[in-house]
């Protein structure tokens, strides 16, 4: 094997580290794309027998978003194994205890029931805040594009921006501004 072919093989089979920012993202929608990166399914050399998965570092999992009333009504099931051991916790209660657990469960359920599932989950690194240890941060070479656009609040705009924005209608003649 020549030196050129050897380096080509090293490059193809190295594990790439991706960064993903989870602010205002739905974890259940994100889990599908993150699962592709963890298994390495976006690569042309992919095969289930070949070990070509990547690492994904997810930050800001505390700031994830759910649609409508899902924080209130989405329940997570757990059973201890003993009689009367079933328990249901609401999503917001689970998020209070551990802000990374909802994201972890979402990815875990999307990966599919394999023997390889536990090993692919080891390549997922979840952080509640922006604080990432340096030995992880120095490996990162790529950023995954966010799925949902992060909305901007009105107080972040300046007064000039709001005034110069095109207006749809004008007030009637004798309208009193309040």
């Amino acid at each position: 094997m020549s030196a050129w072919a050897r380096t080509k093989q090293w490059n193809t089979f190295t594990r790439i580290w991706h960064l993903f920012d989870a602010t205002w993202q739905n974890p259940i929608d994100c889990a599908e794309t993150i699962g592709l990166y963890l298994k390495g399914m976006y690569k042309p050399i992919y095969h289930p027998m070949s070990d070509c998965g990547d690492h994904v570092v997810v930050i800001n999992t505390k700031k994830i978003a759910f649609p409508g009333q899902d924080w209130r009504w989405r329940a997570y099931y757990h059973h201890t194994g003993y009689a009367k051991g079933a328990s249901y916790t609401r999503a917001w209660e689970l998020h209070d205890k551990d802000p990374t657990l909802i994201f972890k469960k979402a990815v875990y359920s999307k990966l599919g029931n394999n023997l390889q599932r536990r090993y692919t989950m080891q390549r997922l690194h979840l952080f509640a805040d922006e604080k990432v240890p340096e030995d992880i941060m120095k490996n990162i070479t790529n950023q995954i594009r966010p799925i949902k656009i992060v909305p901007r609040t009105l107080d972040t705009y300046s007064q000039e921006e709001i005034k110069s924005f095109p207006k749809i209608f004008d007030y009637p003649k004798d309208y009193i501004i309040r």
């Binding site: 205002w24 978003a65 924080w71 609040t153 009105l154 705009y157 709001i162 095109p166 749809i168 004008d170």
Partner: protein
């Protein structure tokens, strides 16, 4: 408004140019503002007439159809477009009534739900009632403290008179011997030009 009696002038193009130029002899676009002053133990309340700030930034549409300002633009407005939605509310975050906004019944209903969505998502923290505490959006409890967003497809509006998806109304009109207009706004448009003369 400028009033002309010569009928030949009132083609569609002439009306268009009048609207784009905004020629007005009277003071038509003016807004009142109540000012409260205190001088020598006296409280003076007066309504000051001011030119509205919106005149220079108003959108001018190409056609002169008789449609409400939102239907005319044919925009897909979402609850995250706070710069648009903030035009339809008061300072306390309340939705303006239909006689002020001039919207049709459906779009008024739609935009009022979009405004409430934006309030729940906490996208307009400046527009809150006077009695609410400062930083009330940061002090939310339980499930309200986490980020929520909404899907606009969940907005349900009752069918209007002209929305005839199943074709029931058209059948009924044919039985009665009447004509059903599939595009009633076109008729309205012509009527509007004639009434101006």
């Amino acid at each position: 408004m400028v009033i002309l009696n010569i009928k030949s002038f009132f083609t569609k193009n002439f009306v268009k140019t009048l609207q784009t130029l905004n020629i007005h002899t009277s003071n038509i676009l003016s807004v009142k503002e109540i000012v409260v002053k205190e001088e020598n133990k006296k409280k003076i309340i007066e309504g000051v007439i001011k030119p509205s700030e919106r005149v220079s930034n108003l959108i001018k549409t190409e056609h002169d159809a008789y449609a409400c300002p939102v239907c005319r633009l044919n925009l897909d407005i979402k609850h995250t477009d706070v710069l648009i939605l903030s035009q339809f509310i008061r300072k306390d975050g309340c939705m303006l009534p239909r006689r002020v906004t001039g919207l049709c019944k459906e779009s008024q209903k739609r935009i009022s739900t979009l405004v409430s969505m934006a309030h729940i998502a906490g996208l307009m923290p400046n527009y809150v009632p006077s009695y609410s505490k400062p930083n009330c959006f940061n002090k939310r409890r339980e499930w309200k403290k986490y980020n929520t967003y909404f899907n606009e497809n969940t907005i349900r509006i009752r069918d209007s008179f002209f929305n005839d998806k199943k074709g029931i109304k058209e059948k009924f009109y044919k039985q009665m011997g009447l004509e059903w207009d599939k595009e009633p706004w076109k008729n309205r448009r012509q009527l509007d030009v004639n009434t101006s003369t």
